[in-house]
Amino acid sequence: MVGGASAAQPRRASLTTPSDLLQRFNNAVKRQILSLQEFFVLAGKAIGFIFARPFYGGDVVQQMDAIGVQSLAIVLLTGFFTGMVLALQSSVQLKTFGATMYIGRLVAASMIRELGPVLAGLMVAGRVGSGIAAQLGSMRVTEQIDALNTLGTDPIKKLVTPRVLAALIMVPTLTIINDLAGILGGNVIAKAYVGIPTSLYWRTVWEQIAAGGFALKYVPHDFVHGLVKPFVFGGIISLVGCHFGLKTSGGTEGVGIATTRTVVTASILILVVDYFITQLLLAFLGS
């Protein structure tokens, strides 16, 4: 078309001219940038509405239940088994050096700083992020979002803000539970397989936490690492879910696409952002 394709040429041929490809590439890039812009606008509004009336307290509690309480089982399970496998693997490695008594330190360090937040984040992204996208997506395609607008309610305030707030509170909470379950799992293996007494195990865990240093005199750096991350992950999961959910188009198929995109995008973002947060915190805290 732009390249001078005549009306007689089939449509397919006209799509492969270089300028047309360039045009399509250009459009695709623009769409992505627009989507990114929409994401940040959504994030700004959702967070701004946390402090603005009217408050939908009931919705926040409901979402805390959906995001937090109902994810408890999977988080406990993943935490426990991760702790167990960590203890098992490290017992093999540490045995070579005769250092099996340090299992506790290893499990605590990995769980609190990295595995706890990231695993909880990924599990919640899979369970909750997809749920948010599917719910908002089907509300979009059945015109319920339009209905909210029509009834004079801002859908971002009513739907997005409660989810974001709930995730900001519940993902760190789940992470703490995940960490504890992991360390407990390590404890079981350390005692059953390696024969390390529980008291020694927990003492080494605490030594590890204390060895990282303290922020504000009393807050171990490990805890800062372990709580800043899930807080950010909670924001990522809920906002990505809401963004793709609200953008859904194309009926039930669109809902499926929105769900998949949410899980993929949120998971990748969690892993990427994790690296940068770690880098930043190490720079600020020194350890």
Binding site: M1, A5, R11, T142, E143, Q144, D146, N149, T150, G152
Partner: protein
């Protein structure tokens, strides 16, 4: 070159487009100064601007609802030069084939969409330029009945009908319950039976009724209906049509009904608009429509 390609190459809007209606191109982001200048120019009925329709003042004063030379496009044009008016208490039925942009007209009136050119008036107030918060306020004047009812499926029937009351009024819980019962009664549903049910438990016709009850809960003076009778059996279609007529009589609301059901349109409407090819093909009374010898209209009305 296909028709579709041609449209994409030559964007139908823009200063060079000779077919563009001569209304100023404005968007929600335009700054207040320009807006005020334009408004004062219109009110003074003079100025260097492209002339607004000659009857602007009349347009604003007499019509509860008015679309003025609307042009709307996404990837391709949806509506071109669409004008419509509804005076207080009137019912305008918008007829047209599927996919002609009928429902889009309702979204424009609710300011869920903003036209690229042209203006939308509700109660004499131009709503095209309003910011989000002001638009929410304007929407409270209107009750909308969605095609698929669009009931909130996480809420019960009671909560659905009570929703607009809880959001925008300071009624006590008892007053809300009285109002909800009254509205459910009005749409011929037994409040005690349906109030605690969820939308998923209702039949299509019942959902529509609850949708109407929710739309009218706040006693709006403008009612909008999107395909109120689509997907219903002939008997239920009759009762829903009857219900809308009853509602108009009691509420005295100005209504816009988007439908492809010619029969119910003739029963309800004081004016009918026929959309074809993205344009208003006909706008007038039902009598004028039946009297028309336009071949498309005769075809469209078929055996009616």
């Amino acid at each position: 070159m296909t028709d579709r390609e041609e449209r994409r190459i030559t964007p139908p809007r823009g200063p060079d487009d000779p077919t563009a209606p001569e209304t100023p191109l404005r968007r929600p982001g335009d700054d207040e100064r320009v807006r005020r200048a334009i408004r004062s120019a219109i009110e003074a009925d003079a100025g260097p601007l492209p002339p607004p329709p000659a009857n602007t003042m009349e347009f604003k004063a007499m019509n509860v609802i008015a679309l003025d030379h609307i042009y709307l496009a996404f990837d391709e044009p949806i509506l071109e030069d669409v004008s419509l008016t509804a005076k207080a208490g009137e019912t305008v039925a918008v007829l047209g084939e599927s996919g002609t942009g009928k429902s889009t007209i309702l979204k424009l009136l609710l300011r869920l969409l903003v036209p690229e050119r042209g203006r939308v008036f509700v109660d004499g107030e131009e709503i095209t330029q309003l910011n989000f918060d002001r638009a929410l306020k304007v929407r409270q004047k209107m009750g909308m009945v969605f095609q698929g009812a669009a009931l909130f499926d996480s809420m019960t029937v009671y909560e659905n009908v009570a929703y607009p009351l809880r959001e925008h009024t300071h009624l006590s819980e008892e007053e809300i319950e009285t109002r909800v019962r009254e509205k459910l009664d009005f749409v011929d549903l037994d409040p005690d039976k349906v109030m605690d049910q969820t939308p998923a438990e209702l039949s299509g016709g019942m959902k529509k009724r609850v949708g109407i009850a929710r739309g009218m809960a706040n006693n709006p003076h403008i009612m909008l209906y999107d395909e109120p009778t689509s997907g219903l059996d002939p008997l239920t279609t009759g009762t829903i049509t009857h219900l809308i007529l009853k509602l108009q009589r009691e509420l005295g609301a100005t209504s816009v009904v988007v439908t492809h059901d010619v029969r119910s349109a003739f029963r309800m409407a004081s004016k009918i608009a026929v959309l074809a090819n993205r344009k208003i093909h006909f706008f007038g009374t039902p009598e004028e429509l039946t009297g028309s010898d336009d071949p498309y209209l005769r075809d469209f009305l078929g055996g009616f």
